[in-house]
């Protein structure tokens, strides 16, 4: 079966002033559909950059990047945006909820941007699974960190993305809420065969994944 994520020799170099800073130095990665993969590595090893490239937020500098059969290295910014809208869900360390909207509208806006309209059945199923039914009319500032992350997870999966990319999802949570968030990701993976690629510097968090990959200095380390 064709992997849902395939990278070969993926490089990403940032130009900072007059200096080229390589963030990814040739990443080879294969993730199968329905897999929950974790990537661990120290700060600055390129984990977040890898996630940004795989989510289409930034183009690769060189190398091959196939996500659900789409070659990111040959796609325009607009094409990657369209792809991301329909196929990718993001969960961030800092939750990244829109502060002026309620939890309900933070979730619904993803469906709105996708353009397929509001799906009440999907919405209900997700909010019930994440246990945020009674928080839907609250704005982010009135929610705890754990609740905000659950709303963020709901937003990320409401449009049934092919891939959920989680960037240090427990980084801003205490251990109890971290466990709840990880259980939810695990539940989504098991219940809906949601493909999840999670990066973390926390080995305990990575342990919930089916497979843990290690990164260092912009490269994947062999298991």
């Amino acid at each position: 079966m064709e992997p849902i994520i395939f990278t070969s020799g993926l490089k990403k170099t940032f130009r900072i002033g007059k200096v080229d800073v390589p963030a990814l130095r040739g990443v080879d990665l294969v993730v199968q559909e329905g897999e929950f993969a974790g990537i661990v590595g120290p700060s600055g090893c390129g984990k977040s950059t890898l996630l940004h490239v795989l989510g289409g937020l930034t183009p690769p500098t060189s190398g091959k990047v196939l996500v659900d059969g789409n070659d990111f290295s040959s796609m325009s910014d607009g094409d990657r945006t369209r792809f991301r809208r329909h196929k990718i869900g993001f969960v961030f360390q800092r939750f990244n909820l829109l502060p002026t909207l309620t939890a309900r509208n933070n979730i619904a806006i993803a469906q709105h941007i996708q353009g397929n309209g509001f799906n009440p059945h999907r919405f209900q199923a997700i909010v019930e699974m994440l246990g945020i039914q009674d928080k839907l009319n609250h704005k982010p500032y009135a929610l705890s960190g754990g609740e905000q992350q659950r709303v963020a997870i709901a937003r990320a999966v409401i449009c049934e993305p092919k891939i959920l990319l989680a960037d240090e999802p427990t980084g801003n949570l205490d251990s109890e809420n971290s466990q709840i968030a990880l259980n939810m990701l695990r539940g989504l993976n098991r219940s809906f065969r949601q493909t999840i690629l999670m990066i973390t510097h926390n080995p305990d968090a990575a342990a919930v994944a089916d497979r843990v990959l290690r990164m260092r200095d912009g490269r994947m380390l062999l298991d």
Partner: protein, 367 residues
């Protein structure tokens, strides 16, 4: 959903929202008031000339159509000449027009009441009655209201005190009327007039009478009243169009700058939120639409505030300055709204483009 987000964003910063709305309102109000006041005053003056009831106006050679600007008087006997030599002339009424600038700018008609009555049909008196002496003055009801005058009170004009003899219905040429002999004395002339109002035996003869007067007085300015009042437009007043254009440009500039600054600070403040929207797959068009819609709502509410504010200002003018007439027309209300929309769109365009072109990774990392 977009609208919910846009409104939520606007409510998130109420002070900035209110200031932006007020600025657009100021822009709209400025346009409407400047245009309304100039066209209103011109319109009102021309209506007052029409209200005299004459068919033709005769002015000395080379005169401006603006009454009181040219003081070169004509011999009063010209009136008799016209009556005798031009067929279908019913009445010719001489008026010595004076321009008062003390305590306000006003035209003062020096008239012979009996003769003036022949053309106008006479004044309708709200209070008091005709002149009884050389230092009597008639004022119209709007002037009286604006200056808190009543019969018997004193009005100072041309370094002379006049007693208010009567308060008359407005709309008969000027707002202030003094006896013709007094006007002659004040202007140092004898048996002279600045203008003649001519009444024809029948309105159907107006063109014939105009031609007839032009034959008798070849170099004089002779116009039918409709032709004369048609000159009361901003195009015919030196620099007025330029003044209006300048004021509209200033208003447009205010709207543009405030919306620009408001939207620019908005996208700076919401850089991270724009990154979030991009991470959700929002296109550049979507981001631009959100910013432009926000500016559009500010603009729409600002237009309504400006138009409502202008109506309030006009009411206040009617109450406290009844002689200053502000003409609000649907046409200019539409133009002012379109100008505000243009200013807002121009002001929001660059911030919207900038927001749309933000790099999503940088935007998400924005602190």
């Amino acid at each position: 959903m977009d609208t919910k987000m846009v409104i939520a964003n606007l409510l998130h910063r109420p002070a900035r929202t209110i200031i932006s709305i007020l600025a657009v309102g100021l822009e709209v109000g400025m346009v409407l008031l400047v245009v309304g006041m100039t066209t209103g005053m011109l319109n009102e003056t021309s209506k007052r000339i029409e209200g005299v009831g004459a068919d033709i106006l005769v002015q000395p050679p080379g005169s401006s159509f603006l009454l009181g600007v040219t003081n070169a008087p004509m011999p009063i006997k010209i009136g008799d000449l016209l009556g005798q030599r031009v067929p279908h002339v019913l009445h010719v009424v001489p008026v010595l027009v004076m321009f008062n600038v003390s305590g306000g700018v006003n035209l003062v008609f020096g008239i012979n009441l009996e003769q003036f009555k022949e053309v106008t049909g006479g004044f309708a008196y709200h209070a008091g009655g005709p002149f009884t002496g050389p230092n009597d003055i008639l004022v119209d009801d709007l002037y009286a209201r604006g200056n808190h005058l009543s019969v018997g009170k004193t009005v100072n004009l041309f370094n002379r005190s006049f007693r208010v003899a009567g308060i008359v219905e407005h709309g008969k040429g000027a707002r202030l009327f003094i006896p013709l002999v007094t006007a002659e004395e004040l202007s140092g002339t004898q048996d002279k007039a600045s203008i003649f109002f001519v009444k024809c035996t029948d309105p159907g003869y107006i063109d014939d009478v105009v031609d007839g007067i032009r034959q008798v007085l070849p170099k004089y300015e002779v116009r039918s009243i409709p032709e004369y009042t048609s000159l009361y437009t901003s195009n015919n007043l030196p620099a007025l169009d330029s003044f209006i254009a300048a004021m509209i440009s200033v208003a447009l500039g205010i709207g543009f700058l405030v919306i620009f600054l408001s939207m620019y600070t908005t996208i700076t403040e919401r850089t991270r939120e724009i990154g979030i929207l991009k991470s959700l797959g929002a296109s550049k068009t979507y981001i631009m639409e959100v910013i432009l819609r926000e500016a559009g709502i500010l603009c729409l509410v600002g237009i309504l505030a400006g138009e409502a504010g202008t109506v309030v200002v006009r009411r206040l003018f009617e109450t406290y300055f009844p002689t200053l007439y502000i003409l609000l027309t649907p046409q200019w209300e539409l133009y002012a709204a379109l100008l505000a929309v243009a200013g807002a769109l121009l002001g929001a365009a660059y911030p919207a483009l900038r927001a749309a072109s933000l790099d999503p990774v940088d935007a998400l990392a924005y602190e």
